[in-house]
């Protein structure tokens, strides 16, 4: 009985974020996805640490090596994790390299090993990597996810691609959010003519077919631009058409909140406009905005993937998920090297996790609903 009253009185004094968190916590899958996104974010922060080898290093000799799985069973015996070696044989008829597993050679998996040098978080010079393979000759690091046409290690490329794809999604959404909140907020709070104009602009932008317009905009980027400039240009292009939905959301919240009695009450005790907006209205919809933003990120990731896949987004040597998938652009390459589709699986997982997380946040966003 005492424990029960304790718990209830805890609920009585729980601020909004705590209530939201308690509600979110009930959605087990969303919590799992939160962890997953956390891991992906970790990779994005320091892909070098997760990479096993230099993702840019090409080696014509090592083209199209299939995935080399980490195994724990050898000769029917449970052992420490290891990877089999591979040997390439040129097929005499097709003249293609065919890689077969050499179960004589075993490379045990080691953690926190030394490898190529890099700066952790761009600051601290180090050569530690999460995983490595004991005994693998230099330049012959086992390819966990296989290699591509140029013999580049897909696993390491994927880690690097994660950084760019996630950050493009994040930056584009951040830009859209900024635009959306400012314009939606102006629209919703002031109403009238301003609102009318902004609403018409939004309707117009929403009536545009997105992909053709994105394609045209990206095609207009000069070919001579360096990778970083293209990166930012693509981000801005994505954000340019992406803010409308958020703006509508913010505007809708503002409009409905403006009519709430507690906002009127705040005005009637003499609270200033700034105080009403930032102390009463904004906190009431931040969780909704966070949810909306979480749901917008996967869309941006997918869009970047589209553009890069079609060759109009990021271009090599930049590495993104879309750029990697470009390698798998036609049936022929997929049939010959199905592992080239693996970055796609990564896209699906990331988008899936973000969507579920966003839905969980949205459901928890208003802890006072019932």
């Amino acid at each position: 009985m005492a424990a029960k009253t304790d718990a209830t009185s805890q609920v009585y004094v729980a601020p909004a974020w705590k209530m939201t968190w308690w509600r979110f916590r009930k959605h087990k899958l969303a919590v799992f996805c939160l962890w997953l996104i956390g891991l992906i974010a970790l990779i994005s922060i320091s892909p070098q640490f997760f990479a096993t080898t230099d993702p840019y290093a090409t080696s014509a000799r090592r083209a199209y090596i299939p995935t080399q799985f980490i195994r724990v069973v050898h000769d029917g015996q449970l052992t420490m994790p290891f990877v089999y070696g591979v040997v390439g044989e040129r097929n005499q008829r097709t003249l293609r390299m065919e890689w077969v597993i050499d179960d004589e050679v075993r490379y045990p998996v080691r953690f926190f090993v030394r490898g190529f040098e890099y700066r952790f978080l761009g600051l601290i010079p180090t050569d530690r990597h999460l995983i490595g393979f004991a005994g693998a000759p230099p330049g012959e690091t086992p390819a966990l996810l296989g290699t591509d046409r140029l013999g580049r290690d897909q696993w390491s490329r994927l880690m690097y691609g994660t950084q760019i794809s996630m950050s493009i999604g994040l930056v584009a959404v951040a830009l859209s959010t900024l635009l959306g909140i400012i314009l939606g907020g102006i629209s919703g709070y002031f109403g009238g003519l301003t609102d009318n104009i902004i609403q018409r602009i939004i309707e117009l932008l929403q009536a545009l077919p997105p992909i053709p317009v994105w394609l045209a905009l990206s095609a207009a980027l000069p070919r001579t631009w360096p990778v970083t400039l293209v990166y930012f240009a693509i981000t801005i292009i994505l954000a340019l058409l992406g803010w409308t939905r958020l703006a509508r959301e913010v505007r809708g919240r503002f409009l409905s909140l403006r009519e709430e009695d507690f906002v009127t009450a705040a005005r009637l005790v003499g609270a200033s406009r700034v105080r009403i907006i930032f102390s009463h209205m904004v906190p009431s919809f931040t969780s909704h905005i966070i949810a909306a933003v979480t749901l917008a990120i996967p869309l941006m990731i997918l869009n970047e993937t589209f553009l890069s896949f079609l060759g109009l987004g990021l271009r090599p040597p930049a590495i993104s998920w879309g750029v990697m998938l470009q390698e798998a652009q036609n049936l022929q390459s997929v049939v010959n090297a199905p592992w080239l589709l693996l970055p796609g699986a990564f896209v699906i997982i990331a988008v899936l996790a973000l969507n579920i997380l966003g839905d969980g946040l949205r459901d928890a966003a208003d802890p006072y609903a019932n």
């Binding site: 545009l208 077919p209 992909i211 905009l217 589209f306 199905p338 589709l341």
Partner: protein, 329 residues
């Protein structure tokens, strides 16, 4: 009803005007103009061209005029049915776009129908059996459908078809019908191939729309009129289909406004992967090759199709919902 549609129709010319400007700006945006790249291309091919010839070409296309004159020249030609000429293909744009447009529309419409036919029952089943196993299965499938880029789905399906059945499922026609004139045999051949791109294209939308139907229906199932229908003694399936479903589907029809352009856009990527003879790959090629009038025309066509899609959805919505129909009457 007439009032309502008239109101919508009034906006269309204004929208098209703005879209034509946007399309024109887009084709003017790249540095240089198509003539420069054309000349460069000709030079590469070994053909030399004199300054006089260049000037006469410039005059012909009004490139020596101010930008707004060029715009009106372009729009004027478009209004007269002259879609311009493609340098890259050495054919008139109208000729290039013609059949591809038809195929684009066919594919988009079929995908739309596929989406609705699949998504609406899924939404209804999920909502009426909320928290059941089947609801969870559909929910999981929906999430995956939403997360899968359709070009990836296309690649995977093509790979499976090839790997397991030895089928090469690219294109819309078998080789013998590729250039053939329309005939029943050619139509049958197309229908035998169009289903795969249709499924690929419709999948993401199916997931989205099934979610919308489910959420709307769940809202409506809690409404007093549903309970009232139940209190009348109507069988459950009958009342669900007659009342809440009709209310829940009305917003789905209005999603046509954004779903149709999404399908058109998505079709572009799928078409590239599956080598479909639609306007999508043509646009991509035109953009890459800076064949700008062709690109501009296609973008404008996309815009027009989008507007038409929105208009159709408005009319359907008015037919479904008497409140909209009688608005302003």
């Amino acid at each position: 009803m007439h009032w309502f549609i008239l109101k919508r129709l009034m906006v269309v010319p204004l929208l098209l005007f703005i879209f034509s400007i946007i399309a024109f700006v887009l084709i003017q945006a790249p540095p240089g103009d198509y003539l420069t790249s054309y000349i460069a291309e000709l030079a590469q091919g070994g053909t030399t061209i004199t300054q006089d010839q260049i000037d006469s070409l410039r005059r012909q296309y009004g490139l020596d005029q101010p930008v707004y004159v060029q715009y009106f020249l372009w729009v004027g030609n478009l209004l007269q049915g002259d879609l311009g000429y493609s340098f890259e293909w050495r054919r008139s744009n109208a000729e290039l776009i013609g059949e591809r447009l038809l195929l684009t529309l066919a594919l988009t419409t079929l995908s739309l129908i596929f989406t609705w036919v699949v998504a609406i029952p899924i939404g209804i089943i999920s909502a009426t059996r909320q928290y059941s196993v089947i609801d969870y299965v559909f929910t999981v499938l929906n999430y995956i459908g939403l997360a899968t880029p359709n070009f990836l789905l296309a690649l995977v399906l093509m790979w499976i078809a090839f790997d397991s059945f030895g089928l090469s499922v690219t294109g819309l026609f078998s080789p013998e019908f590729q250039q053939a004139p329309w005939s029943w045999a050619r139509f049958a051949d197309m229908m035998g191939k169009i289903w795969l791109p249709m499924i690929v294209l419709g999948t993401a939308g199916t997931a989205q729309i099934a979610r919308v139907v489910r959420a709307n229906l769940l809202d409506e199932l809690g409404k007093p009129y549903t309970e009232m229908a139940r209190a009348k003694g109507l069988p459950e399936w009958k009342l669900v289909l007659k009342y809440p479903t009709r209310v829940a589907i009305a917003p789905v029809v209005s999603t046509l406004g954004w779903y149709f352009p999404q399908l058109l856009s998505g079709g572009l990527v799928v078409a590239v992967v599956m080598s479909l003879p639609t306007i999508g790959p043509l646009l991509l090629r035109a953009l890459v090759g800076q064949d700008m009038y062709l690109a501009g025309t296609i973008i404008l066509i996309y815009c027009i199709l989008t507007v038409v899609g929105t208009l159709v959805s408005d009319v359907l919505l008015a037919l479904l919902d008497p409140r909209i129909r009688m608005d302003g009457a």
